[in-house]
Symmetry: C2
Subunit: 655 residues, 2 copies
Amino acid sequence: MTSTTAGPDLSPTSGAQPVNTPVAPTADAAVTLQPVPLGASRSTGGFWFDRMQANRRQAIRTGYEKLETAGNLRNLRIAAGVEQGEAKGPIFMDSDVYKWLEAAGWEYGREADEEVLGWIREVTAVVAAAQADDGYLDSVQQVRGKGERYTGLHWSHEHYCAGHLFQAAVAVHRSTGDTGLLDVAVKLADHLVATFGPGGIEEVDGHPVVEMGLVELFRETGNRAYLDLARWFVDARGHGIIRTRFGVDPTYFSDRVPVREATSPEGHSVRAVYLTAGAADVAAETGDAELLDALVRQWEGMLSSKTYVTGGIGSRWDFEQFGDHYELGPDRAYAETCAAIASVQWSWRMLLATGEARYADLVERTLFNAFLPGVSLAGTEYFYVNALQLRHGAHAEEERSVAHGRRPWFDCACCPPNIMRTLSQLDAYVATTADRDGVPGIQLHQFTTGEVQAGGARVRVSTEYPWDGTVRVEVLESPGEFELALRVPGWAEGATATVAGQDVPAAAGDYLRVRRGFAPGDVVELVLPMTVRPVEADPRVDAVRGCVVVERGPLVYAVEQADLPEGLVADDVRVRVAELRDARAEHRPDLLEGVTVLHLPVHAAVGAATGPLYRPAGDDPAPQAGDATQVVPAVPYYAWANRELGAMRVWLPRA
Amino acid sequence: MTSTTAGPDLSPTSGAQPVNTPVAPTADAAVTLQPVPLGASRSTGGFWFDRMQANRRQAIRTGYEKLETAGNLRNLRIAAGVEQGEAKGPIFMDSDVYKWLEAAGWEYGREADEEVLGWIREVTAVVAAAQADDGYLDSVQQVRGKGERYTGLHWSHEHYCAGHLFQAAVAVHRSTGDTGLLDVAVKLADHLVATFGPGGIEEVDGHPVVEMGLVELFRETGNRAYLDLARWFVDARGHGIIRTRFGVDPTYFSDRVPVREATSPEGHSVRAVYLTAGAADVAAETGDAELLDALVRQWEGMLSSKTYVTGGIGSRWDFEQFGDHYELGPDRAYAETCAAIASVQWSWRMLLATGEARYADLVERTLFNAFLPGVSLAGTEYFYVNALQLRHGAHAEEERSVAHGRRPWFDCACCPPNIMRTLSQLDAYVATTADRDGVPGIQLHQFTTGEVQAGGARVRVSTEYPWDGTVRVEVLESPGEFELALRVPGWAEGATATVAGQDVPAAAGDYLRVRRGFAPGDVVELVLPMTVRPVEADPRVDAVRGCVVVERGPLVYAVEQADLPEGLVADDVRVRVAELRDARAEHRPDLLEGVTVLHLPVHAAVGAATGPLYRPAGDDPAPQAGDATQVVPAVPYYAWANRELGAMRVWLPRA
């Protein structure tokens, strides 16, 4: 532990002390890039800043209240013996508390707020009081388990809750300097080290996340036993170590194939990708190149056949699982919001390890199109599931159905506080720093208006991204020779750039690297082409055959019923690619808190409403659409279902 | 009760006694057609006869053994107090016993077999011993419930098991004359009448089937209280009467919308359609035209937007439910075998009520393409789920996955004995009898080689259907003026017919009705065109856009990896409709117990294996297939996965 102050200690981090950011590799870690601390990477305006502010102003407070009303804190008080009753909610109720604490921690790091600090300390006290003398902590298990521990680890989520506690404790400690929650975490981690691994209980939790938590706690405390246990958990898995009760096979638990042998993630998407993210942490801190190679292979497998065009992952409703390769149907897309978050966490770690732009590309795609749809513009209602299509007349069944619209909370409330903690740490994913050949540098991975300070330099980023493609980086302070790298997204064919007014090449899918003796006032400007891009899928994605998605910049667009004229149902919209390319973009500050809409020429399907369900096939190609072109607005997919809920589709059939 | 003999009584039924068939409307019932008793409708050879014989020779025996090894009979013995231990298996374990008893009963009716009768009596004794003094019977509940009854009726399946018992008791009584099982059923039914309905427990079981069971028991015994209770169950439902525990909403239980108001079945597919089938029985016996109208509307809703091209229903894996309208993806098609059986039962009742050919059309499509795929050619291995596509490299997860191939039994073994009882009663669905304007008649709904005796006439049907389209009906006995009606399937445009050598019109989708003074030796011949028919779906079925199915006769065909040349994966097969129409059919007696294969010209998708998952859209239409035509065999879908398991697809993308 590095701090003993009880109050906030916001002095700059120094030397071996981990930087104030969620993923802080040690000085010895095998990484290419180093994170820039929160505060040193700081959004000050624009798209993401607005979302972060909504999170700060609305969600964190609401979340704090929900922890009480949903019973999470009560469970902990019952475990502490200060309240009586039965535990409420799913077995992993504590994890919601920890995810909220993590969110509050990072928020306090962004901007000190005594009310938030008060909440953190109040909740920390509730958590600490529930902890058993030997460090064990899991309120639901303590209350329901009649003294039993770890007897059903495939489902009990005891390590899962611990992992989220560790991440929260690191956040609170790094951001506030408070050691209260860290003390609880260390006590629990020491208990796990004493209890699990070779010679102890040789089992793993059904739901990974403890691996990431343990590595970060190692980074925070320097206690290598935590890293060793994390590595053991990563390698023990995949050999059928989890007993398969209830007829659920090891696939679901990422326990069928060892991490080092798997070619793509499978089973429960959040479990699978929290595991690979934790494995990436282990690989970084142990310098395990073989493990990193395996993770690169898995990531490529995911991207090439198991990822929605939005970046979302996990297509199956049943058991929230990855489907087979190319099983990516839009109507029943599960694409859990938490899985998108897991994907961002994994890709971020792969980016730190390798420095390759493709990982930041997927972070961007996922944040805009798979993560952000999970929360309302107001910041207080959530999608658990993110389908890419809602049919006209769809009936809402269970609470996760998109046909319900976003909801304030869930019985299984994993997603809301996960969104909160992600928005609160979003500045961490904007930039990194690295020396190349002894020259310090800043790498800009995501584009948001703000400042970045690292490697002796300070730059100001100004952009209207994602609505406009111009990213202006002005050097405010310079150490002299310096390398400024800006990611040119893979979609940005035709990007251009200038350095101090001179054109420089900017290849899509790589970093634009400008190395020179920068002086304050120097400007690097990157211009990404904001054309309307019709995109199609590999023909093996059967469910979207003959369809295209419309993209502009980093955004995937959707046609929503609310924008369609009377008589035209979203289900029946048809498009022609050549016409889409010329679609007009219009920024509408009044709409959906400001969005650029695309005015798409569309055709209405002819004959859809007549004839039997199955009919003699027409000659190729089937005449399915008429020529009565209309122009209708498409909105960014993330913003859908913020008005009257109606039919929606991302994949548009060709006329 | 109509018989008190303990042994088999196979004397012809008379007067008011119900005929020996699963659905036997009373003389007062509001039906258009009357069933022909088993025995009077009798297959003697050909396609379905072979399947029935496999069922008789293999499955009934295997099922009998499984009831012991899977623990079903042991549960009953524990409930009877003659064995000790905990109940095994799901809450509805008794229903497997009853479905097997029903199958064995109808089999005995087809052909007396002392060994089968011995099994029936042995199992009946086990069931009878478990029954409580007041008639209550549900072994799992008796053993696990600690004396509680009906406290969790939304999930306990107590009425569900009762319904299957009633159907089994009717089968055994009608076929063997034994009253043992009927006595148990009557005692339980009397207990239900005394316990449920107005003034009693006003609740309904989460899983319908008791409605059908009660009506048939009313038909068998004449006790109108059973019919009244069935009607009460039908009408009580749909008003949220089932408390929604566990976050599962009323939709799942068909409890969201009253039967009389619903426009299509929704929720759990087997529940929903067992309910509508039971409602059809109620409508028939109460002469409730409003209820029948509502069922016609629901059936039309199902057929027009919630039915696979195979006739299968229920597209969602999660909760085994109907999807939204047009949500009919082939890869994750659930299409539970039991749901196909439920659909056949419902359509059969609608056919009896209305006499309309479309109901028999759906029975045919479903039997060949949604029911039959559920069982191996050997008759001993089963699909629970009937996907219409299996991708190359798909990984088998849970036991229901098609990627496992068919399996000998399941933890939840609803499908295997359901298949057994359906095959054992298949002759019941072949023909009906009815007077029109005082003229007696026989209606042939399904085509199988055999004899039908009804209305004073006896006819012999000879056909190689479904491989050949000629159906020859020879009059063996005639009462003089008589009407012979043959269904001309909706797919059979261009059908021709001759009566005593003279051409008569035969319109597809209706009955060919021949009324004349028939004499023995007269022949009516129907020739159905066995062309290869490419079929496409309503464009709102997004998941199969740009694809066609190949049909021939009543069969849906599939391309299976086992038939493809090295280097061509089923996933990449492309077709052109004009080429398909000319595909050559070849009967292969050596293949899959004799099938007609279709030699389809196919193209291989070009470029599928290269490029990113999502890519700039090509101009319309997208060039996705090359011109290297190959010819590969397609096999009837029902026969797939009887060889080496590999990729398979029913819907073939257009080149």
